[in-house]
């Protein structure tokens, strides 16, 4: 008699290292369903103590090459809040555009390079490109990702890590001509974003993906008037609705054996999930008109508690990101170089932004000389580990008829549904499935 064990020690197509370990007992009961993050801790919170406050936003963007701007902007907003610094409207808009650029890059990468190969049965995007029917799609996908990167270069002066955005504002701003050139490319990219939505709905809207539903508490920022990327209230579909700076009061963390990530719960309640699917559920009404229109066309509506549909949420956010970027470029017009002025002031505060893969929080305490006394950062991936384990426990019993190989793949996909980024979390992936026979 033996357990059926699914174990994958280094899962590909995700950022960072970790393992999945699932043990199924002889009666089909789940004895273990764990996601173990191997990636070593990064200790950002410790080494920021004693540094000048200006350094925090600069250093935290080094956490990750996929969502550097999320960490950067959360850090900026929290440190500015702590010292009572108000930034200009132009700075807020430029920060939004910078972050949408990141979403376009990250979502295009995840949809086509990380997630789609699973759904269409290829090992990787390179193998996908070997199929003559899929080759043109891969080419366009890389073009869309490139557009995100080029927007980042235009705003930040650098491919990944920014050189222009600092505490209080920007040290350089893109010209109107540069922004207009990007606008034309964004307009041209729209058609492919629509195609992407249609394609991923086809991929997701088949059994078992469209049957595996798990109602859960979905957390994201929320703003009744504007799709929340950099600002909003901390909100859930189950009653959480508090100012985002209260994140440390409401979201509690605990260390878990065998995992380098802390697990999280909502105060007085249970586990929760963050990410594009959660954001779209909570904020569908403020997505761009075209994003809502294409959603209706393909039959997607909220609430949607199908984790495998996170790829659909990501594709809808691609449409929205393009529309929002075009609008931001129009409103920005000809950005002006503004003087950056602020004074150090003692204070403590926190801020949440929506990274492509979910809510990220930064913050801490600064003394009157602008020296950091305490720093906390919480990346989205760490928030989702408990939720992922709940998905394993809910879905694996429904998939027991599959071969070990297929069941392992379905479990790997459950991991990728969250687009985990262990570099941030600290990092994760291996999958391990064992069944008792």
């Amino acid at each position: 008699m033996s357990d059926r064990r699914l174990y994958v020690d280094y899962l590909a197509r995700m950022e960072g290292d970790g393992a999945m370990d699932i043990v199924i007992g002889e009666n089909g009961e789940i004895k273990k369903a764990a996601w173990e993050v191997w990636e070593p801790p990064r200790f950002f919170e410790a080494f920021l103590i004693g540094r000048k406050v200006e350094e925090a936003p600069e250093l935290v963007q080094r956490i990750c090459g996929i969502c550097p701007h999320a960490h950067h902007i959360a850090s900026l907003r929290s440190m500015e809040r702590a010292m009572g610094i108000k930034v200009s409207e132009q700075t807020r808009l430029l920060r939004e555009l910078m972050h949408y650029s990141d979403w376009i890059m990250s979502h295009a990468l995840h949809v086509y390079c990380l997630a789609a190969p699973d759904f269409v049965g290829f090992e990787s995007v390179v193998a996908m490109a070997g199929n003559p029917d899929l080759l043109p799609i891969v080419g366009k996908a890389l073009g869309l990702k490139r557009l995100g990167n080029d927007m980042i270069v235009a705003i930040c002066g650098n491919e990944i890590q920014n050189r222009t955005s600092v505490l209080g504002g920007f040290t350089a701003v893109p010209s109107k001509a540069t922004l207009q050139a990007l606008k034309e490319r964004l307009k041209a990219a729209k058609e492919f974003a629509f195609e992407t939505v249609k394609l991923v709905v086809q991929l997701g809207n088949v059994a078992p993906y469209n049957k595996l539903e798990r109602k859960a508490e979905y957390v994201s920022l929320y703003d009744p008037k504007r799709y929340p990327i950099n600002e909003g209230r901390l909100y859930s579909n189950d009653g959480l609705d508090v100012p985002d700076e209260e994140y440390p009061i409401w979201i509690l963390e605990k260390h878990v054996m065998s995992c380098n990530c802390k697990h999280a719960t909502i105060k007085g309640k249970g586990i929760f999930a963050v990410g594009p699917l959660m954001r779209v559920n909570n904020n569908f009404g403020t997505m761009s008109a075209d994003a809502r229109k294409i959603a209706a066309e393909v039959g997607f509506s909220v609430p949607c508690f199908l984790p495998y549909f996170s790829i659909v949420a990501r594709a809808l956010e691609l449409v929205h990101s393009i529309d929002a970027s075009i609008e931001l470029i129009d409103v920005l017009g000809e950005p002006k170089l503004e003087e950056i002025k602020y004074e150090y002031k003692a204070g403590e505060s926190y801020a949440v932004v929506e990274a492509a893969r979910g809510s990220a929080m930064h913050g801490g305490r600064v003394d009157k000389n602008g020296i950091i006394q305490k720093y906390d950062l919480i990346a989205p991936t760490a928030r989702n580990i408990a939720s992922l384990e709940a998905d394993f426990k809910a879905f694996v019993p429904q998939l027991l008829d599959l071969s070990d190989e297929d069941l392992t793949l379905k479990c790997e996909m459950m991991v990728r549904n969250y687009d985990p980024c262990q570099s941030c979390a600290t990092h994760s992936i291996k999958v391990n499935l064992r069944r008792e026979k």
Binding site: Y10, L11, A12, R13, M14, E15, G16, D17, P40, C113, E123, S124, V125, V126, A129, G130, L135, V138, G139, L142, K145, R146, N149, E159, I429
Partner: protein, 162 residues
């Protein structure tokens, strides 16, 4: 504007010998400028993944310098045409992105390979994470790898080595 030739060094600065491609580029930058013809651009690309395709768009002739693990003695300098790279099933896609073999394969499929693409690979010993600095064997190979790059530049630009 297109360069005549790009030399792209790849590697992770914080993984010991993995940084050798970057070190070769730095060593080339220290050469007296006159030794490198005009139109040759040196790039420290880090771990570019699929962005290699975008870099390639900038030139028809490209030389990539990267760390290699083939089982040869550490410090061995390999030089080969990209068309001779092993098939990708020998080397799976890495978790963080895409390795050179994948980028070459994808570039070929998409018609985005440079007309001439040479890989100069330095056999490495250590990929110790969070460690900056090459092992002595690999450090000693940097001047040899640099020479191979200079030879390849001369060859690509159709000139005889002086």
């Amino acid at each position: 504007m297109k360069a005549d030739l790009l030399v792209i060094g790849c590697g992770n600065e914080w993984a010991s010998d993995d940084a050798v491609g970057l070190q070769v580029i730095r060593s080339l930058k220290e050469l007296d400028e006159v030794k490198l013809p005009d139109g040759v651009e040196l790039i420290e690309a880090g771990t570019p993944g699929l962005n290699l395709l975008d870099l390639w768009d900038r030139a028809d002739r490209v030389i990539i310098v990267d760390a290699v693990k083939s089982g040869a003695a550490p410090g061995t300098v390999h030089s080969f045409d990209a068309s001779l790279l092993p098939p990708r099933d020998v080397m799976p896609v890495s978790s963080h992105g895409v390795n050179i073999i994948d980028a070459v394969e994808l570039g070929r499929l998409l018609g985005r390979l440079p007309a001439q693409l040479t890989v100069i690979g330095v056999e490495i010993l250590s990929e110790q994470p969070f460690h900056v600095g090459l092992t002595p064997e690999v450090e000693a190979a940097v001047p040899r790898a640099r020479e191979r790059v200079v030879e390849a530049i001369t060859q690509h630009l159709g000139k005889q080595k002086e």
